[in-house]
Amino acid sequence: MSDIPGQLRYTREHEWVSVEGAIATIGLTDYAQGELGDIIYLELPETGTHVGKGDPFGTVEAVKTVEEIYAPVTGEVLETNAGLEAHPELVNQAPYGEGWLVRIRMSDPSELEQLLDSEGYREQVGE
């Protein structure tokens, strides 16, 4: 059974979003990291990049598969998790903590309303 924290919002594509003011922190869910298996490399956008909701903005390379990562909200990339360069396995080990991916300054916070809550996401992953 995956860990699906109640206070976060989720995309159908398995990203989570945590919001503080206009800043959204984004990561991959525990379910997603479990499905991917051992992650060995992440390609993340550079700081300052503008991303649109639903756009692919990075890739996650696991031993068995590679997947795109999609932006849950529109905005500007403020920061990427530099720790993942040397330790991509943090996404497996602490998907909601040290394994976060990027921080985005949202240009339209109302987009958050289109995201799933934890119940909706749990239903989506069928657990």
């Binding site: 060995i40 490399y41 031993v63 795109e68 999609y70």
Partner: protein, 379 residues
């Protein structure tokens, strides 16, 4: 990432005798070649490293077993495969391929000689039905051919600690002498707990290792006994994910990747499996012609910069010219590099090569195969 891709299939995957055991051990089960098998337990990299460092326990019951027995058995097996089974003594195993008339590879397989007229063929799960039908059709009534897959569960214990842990396993006490002295690619037939058991010094990881063939009823008991005896040595259950990265590092061919019906054994670098002078066999004329013409393609080993993985089907370039494709690619956990096996046109084998990874051409370094080898394997 994209929504989880669930495989839609109308067929229920088959379960091995260890199905419940895998769940108890926390195995993550997936559909593989029509079988529900664990892809991993603690994690692919962890299991891979456990096998290189200590040992791993694999359920390989999905492999198919075909028996060929009777006065015509040797002649029949000789006709089916490219390697020379006449050189086998009782208790010896031979790696070989079976080819079509045109030299394309139907499967790679192991031949066990259990007696002068008794052979056991161990074939790939995905090819099991195809091979059983092919063998029966080719041999007609020349020998008694039987798909015995349902009779056998198969376990593999692989890793430098494997012999030591097997000797510490009380259930295998009757096999201790055989296990101690068993040479590479030899097997012994024994009885444990009143049931027959075949144990061979074979495997698919590039490490010292053993494979067990036994009744499905006995399999969970042996798995439990092995794990109990092996835990102190570092033995862990290992899944299909680690099995693939281990065989990839050792540069062993995998059917459907380096081998298929469109590939001949020479292209895949398996020259040593083709004995053109052993007498007639299926595909011999075609293979002789292909050998004389020199293989059209060659299997090469490539290393990529960084950690992006070149996956099966990715295009290989020499300059601007596409010269082949990746057959297997992975992050190699022991070597900590992104590596790939690729079939490229013969002329390109010595050239500077690049792999196109999602639109980006990455210059590749050509490496000698195998990527990983362990001298203790054959000792």
């Amino acid at each position: 990432m994209s929504p989880a891709r669930r495989r839609c299939t109308t067929e229920t995957p088959r379960k091995t005798a260890l199905h419940a055991w895998h769940r108890e051990q926390g195995g993550k089960l997936v559909d593989f070649a029509g079988w529900e098998l664990p892809v991993q337990y603690s994690g692919l990299l962890d299991e891979h490293r456990a096998v290189r460092r200590a040992a791993g326990l694999f359920d390989v019951s999905h492999m198919g077993e075909i028996t060929v027995e009777g006065p015509g058995a040797l002649a029949a097996v000789q006709r089916l495969v490219t390697n020379d089974c006449a050189r086998l003594a009782d208790g010896q195993v031979l790696y070989t391929v079976a080819c079509r008339e045109d030299g394309g590879v139907l499967d790679d397989l192991l031949v066990y000689r259990r007696g002068p007229e008794r052979f056991l063929l161990v074939v790939n799960a995905a090819n099991s039905d195809k091979l059983a039908a092919w063998v029966a059709r080719q041999l007609g009534g020349a020998a008694a051919v039987r798909d015995a897959s349902a009779d056998f569960a198969q376990l593999a214990v692989q890793g430098p600690a494997s012999r030591e842990l097997l000797l510490a396993c009380p259930l295998l006490a009757p096999a201790a002498d055989a296990l101690r002295g068993l040479p590479f690619y030899h097997f012994a037939e024994l009885q444990i707990a009143g049931e027959p058991l075949i144990v061979s010094r074979t495997g698919y990881t590039g490490e010292l290792g053993f494979e067990f063939y036994l009744s499905p009823a006995l399999a969970p008991r042996l798995a439990d006994a092995l794990l109990a005896a092996g835990r102190p040595c570092g033995l862990q259950p290992a899944g299909l994910g680690a099995r693939d990265t281990l065989r990839f590092e050792a540069s062993y061919c995998l059917y459907g990747h380096e081998l298929d019906e469109q590939t001949d054994p020479f292209e895949a670098g398996l020259f040593w499996l083709v004995k053109l002078d052993k007498g007639d066999f299926i595909g011999r004329d075609a293979l002789r012609a292909r050998k004389d013409a020199a293989a059209a393609r060659r299997l090469v080993g490539l290393a990529l910069p960084g950690r992006k993985i070149a996956r099966q089907g990715f295009c290989v370039f020499a300059g601007d010219e596409p010269v082949g494709a990746v057959t297997s690619g992975s992050f190699a956990p022991t070597l900590e590099r992104s590596l790939a096996l690729a079939l490229v046109s013969r002329g390109a084998a010595g050239a500077a090569l690049a792999v196109e990874v999602r639109g980006e051409r990455l210059a590749a370094e050509t490496l000698k195969l195998p990527f990983y080898s362990q001298p203790a394997l054959r000792a």
